[in-house]
Amino acid sequence: MNIGRRLFLRTGIALTALAALPRVLLAAAWPEKAFAAPAASGALIDLFGSDQTVPSDKISLKAPEIAENGAVVPLKIKTTLENVESISIIVEKNPRPLAATIEILPGTLPEFSSRIKMRETSDVMIAVKTDTGVYTTAKEIKVTIGGCGG
């Protein structure tokens, strides 16, 4: 077999393999711009069209006051606000503050738990989008060992 044919076959097999991915497709658009924003206000604008938010005492953020390991900071988030559309986690001092944005679909409760990375001691803001606006609460979480691995 000459080199040309071998290359052709290898390319064909590689392309076929590529065409088989991905098996799982995105269910909704991934907010790339918001995730790339280098500051919290930019992330809010990319997500919601504005960085104007309303503080609310109806959002609860359970988190350690001091996170020994910034790579794994557990958060438990809940809100009693009504008609919640999404809940987002913004870590002010992370290089890219938006850590996650969770879509609350109809019938799903406006609460969740997860674990995030924090580079350093920072305010962690929870932004809840409802049909009437964007509401926030924030809490400072101290970090002794930063979690971005850099």
């Binding site: 799982v24 269910a27 991934w30 850590a99 996650a100 879509e103 609460e111 990375k117």
Partner: protein
């Protein structure tokens, strides 16, 4: 791909509680490999979805700032014992995985 998803879904009254753990390195792209000194490329789950009997009940969009081996738990209404709960994720490298379990 070997199964990377561990999930438990329990129904209590009208509320189903889902607890899940995805095995994934969630590389930020800013970490240097200890041996080679080279930057390890970003490799992180971008979207995690949960479906109850064909109905989408949760879409979680993640950045690199979600911890390695992401843990995610949440609750939804209307799930019943015996229903199917499907968990699926995609990452920024084109990787993906999915797993189905019966709700208890």
């Amino acid at each position: 791909m070997a199964n990377s998803i561990k999930v438990k879904a329990e129904v209590s009254g009208n509320i189903a509680e889902v607890k899940s753990l995805m095995l994934h390195p969630m590389e930020t792209g800013t970490r240097k490999d200890a041996d080679t000194g080279e930057l390890v490329a970003a490799n992180h789950i971008t979207q995690l979805t949960f479906t109850n009997n064909e109905k989408l009940v949760m879409v979680a969009n993640f950045s690199t700032a979600v911890s390695r081996d992401p843990y995610f738990s949440f609750k939804f209404e209307g799930g019943k014992v015996g229903d199917t709960l499907k968990v699926a994720w995609v990452d920024n490298t084109g990787g993906s995985d999915e797993f189905e379990t019966a709700m208890e």
